[in-house]
């Protein structure tokens, strides 16, 4: 096993990786930008090195600087986390060239699956269905493809992920503009302006399969996750196993994921994402060649530590798990806590956390990148923590999540906790098996009180609080002028997962 590991990331995922290393007696090397001297991952690591200024392009995305720290600290391996350089084949190759082990698949596999069109071609080559679509390299090709695919369709970036360079096009008339803006956005985000088309499926479910592959030819499917609870194509809440999934379909999905991984020469942890339509059909969507944000739900039901397994695989160890050793037990949920204001169109709300009370007790897991006194910076992703619960069945996991959300108090900044609490009261979600359009249909607006009984308590509490501490929000005419402008947050995030 590696004596030392560099973690080329920040936030909760860097903390997650540090924890895995500490349990394996691996020394951890954190890297950080100027905004992150006091960040939790810097505090918890055994070593920490400054990369550079706050912008990720000058710190967390600088391959040269990260490899220099690896050399300086003598770290023989690098874990990229998710986001940043995690799916960058060039980075994986540069690590190899520098004699440093990249914790992830070989750069070849990243390339084979990182290009969405290459991934689709690979899927077809092993008889895995893909969402109907077509290439759109030139305007002429785009026009032809659009006619074949039909409207509405998605324009998507070939090099893409996380919604960048993605446009929903309802009518042929809107196509030229959508192509133009999507190409520009893709060029800016990925240095590659190529786009392609995908048919928009009607109300599909998003189900993905966790893959684990070693360097000795063993490839395992560690069960699936349902990530259909999405807000504007961003995952909000995930669960394992996928509820009400037909066992035969589940087996087909696992089998398809294994075929894809084998065809790509995949090694280490990865995820094959699928869409399920209402008629029992399934379609390969894309591969994520790295650890997922939502990996804890798989860990909770299998009892495995995916990060430790990633490290073992990268160190050349052989996977010796029998199927009975990773069969799911019970059910797990994860809520992603974002520093966003669910009462104000989910605009990001960075700022200082003045109070933090985390839930505890049975079946609750917190993966957090923040602490009381920490100021959430504006420069990075707004995902600050994840709360996951496990139960003997889905119902117990749901009830535990409800309880955990009630115990979770993040003071000083708005978070999505009340939004999650509201979802956990939704009959359709509680019944299980909602599709990816559910949340946006059900919550065009912000969360709201679902009972009137305690309004007087709220009224009095606000007055008491205002009497104690004046500034913060405006109290009547003496406060700062209220803007008459409404803010509409356009979520064009580079969030991964």
């Amino acid at each position: 096993m590696f004596p030392k590991l560099l973690i080329a990331n920040r936030g909760e995922i860097a903390v997650r990786i540090i924890r895995a290393c500490r349990e394996l007696n691996i020394r951890t090397v954190a890297v950080y930008s100027e905004a992150d001297r006091a960040a939790l991952h810097v505090r918890l690591a055994e070593e920490a090195y400054l990369l550079g200024p706050t912008p990720a392009t000058e710190s967390y995305l600088r391959i040269d600087k990260i490899l220099a720290v690896a050399k300086q600290s003598g770290a023989p391996a690098i874990h990229p986390g998710y986001g940043f350089l995690s799916e960058n084949a060039e980075f994986a190759a540069a690590c190899t060239q520098a004699g440093v082990t990249f914790i992830g698949p070989p750069s070849m596999a990243i390339r084979a699956l990182g290009s969405k069109t290459a991934g689709r071609d690979l899927a077809r080559s092993v008889d895995v269905p893909v969402v109907p679509g077509g290439r759109a390299d030139t305007d002429e090709e785009a026009e032809r493809s659009a006619q074949t695919v039909g409207f509405p369709l998605f324009v998507k970036a070939v090099a893409g992920g996380g919604g960048k360079g993605m446009r929903l096009v309802e009518r042929p008339a809107d196509l030229p503009a959508a192509l133009r803006t999507a190409r520009a956005e893709a060029q800016k985000a990925f240095g590659n302006g190529s786009v392609y088309f995908e048919k928009r499926l009607l109300a599909p479910r998003h189900v993905e399969v966790q893959i684990l592959a070693d360097t000795h030819g063993t490839v395992l499917a560690l069960g699936e996750r349902d990530c259909s609870v999405q807000r504007r194509h961003q995952k909000v809440l995930e669960e394992a196993p996928a509820p009400h999934l037909d066992p035969a379909l589940r087996a087909r999905l696992h089998e398809a994921a294994l075929r894809l991984a084998r065809a790509a020469g995949y090694v280490n942890a990865g995820t094959m994402e699928f869409l399920l339509d209402q008629e029992g059909g399934y379609y390969f969507l894309e591969a994520n060649t790295r650890l997922q944000v939502e990996h804890p739900v798989t860990e909770l039901v299998t009892g495995l530590d995916l990060v430790q397994l990633q490290l073992r695989i990268a160190a050349g160890e052989q996977l010796t798990l029998a199927p009975g050793e990773y069969a799911p037990r019970g059910a797990a949920l994860e809520c992603r806590i974002y520093a966003e204001d669910p009462f104000k169109n989910f605009i990001p709300g960075p700022g200082k956390i003045i109070g933090l009370r985390e839930p505890g007790g049975p079946g609750v897991r917190i993966d957090s990148g923040v602490y009381e006194g920490w100021t959430v910076p504006t420069a990075y992703d707004s995902l600050i923590a994840k709360v996951s619960t496990w139960g003997r069945d889905r119902s117990q996991a749901l009830h535990r999540m409800r309880r955990a959300l009630r115990e979770y108090h993040i003071q000083g900044i708005p978070t999505t906790i009340p939004f999650h609490a509201q979802i956990l009261e939704e009959p359709a979600f509680l019944a299980g098996g909602v599709d990816t359009t559910y949340l946006d249909r059900r919550f065009p607006d912000r969360p709201h009180a679902w009972s009137e009984a305690e309004r007087a308590v709220a009224v009095v509490a606000a007055a008491v609080h205002a009497s104690r501490r004046r500034p913060e929000p405006p109290v009547g005419p003496s406060g700062p002028a209220i803007s008459p402008w409404v803010l509409a947050a356009r979520q064009a995030a580079i969030r991964r997962g």
Partner: protein, 179 residues
Amino acid sequence: MAYLVTSGGRTYRVDIHTDEAGVHVHLDDAAYPIDVLSVGPALYSILLDGRSYEVDCVPVEDAWIVLVDGQPFRVALQDETALPQPHTMTVTPKAAGGTVIAPMAGKIVKVHVAVGEEVAAGAPVCTLEAMKMENELTAGSAGTVEAVQVSVGDTVRAGQVLVELGDGSERPPAAPSAD
């Protein structure tokens, strides 16, 4: 200390008096037997008639979101001392004239308007990048741009004035609904 508090379409009068024994509350002029204890910077433990509540106060732009055992209520406050007719007024956010203010720190990546331009309600004014997201600031009402204080590439603080607008021909829409 007295407040007019609006929530759920109703306005309450809340009087707060604090002494060594704790916080005493009158609600709409009647003593309200509530036991309020601060257990965090913006967190209260409340006992009332045997019921126990855990209450978070979260500031939002023009009001508070008060979470009572996790359940959100939108509550707007007005300090009574500032009111001419405390018992008859309802709370309306000041919405006339106005400026577009940065709701958070970030970088200006686009400015959609120029001085003298007439903008319609809902029209984008500028785009602010923060936390890896582009946030479009749009006009809540029509108006005329009087000044543009920022350029593309500027880094702005939360609360910084970005664009100033003169009164448009239309009045701003009604105050945001409570809930």
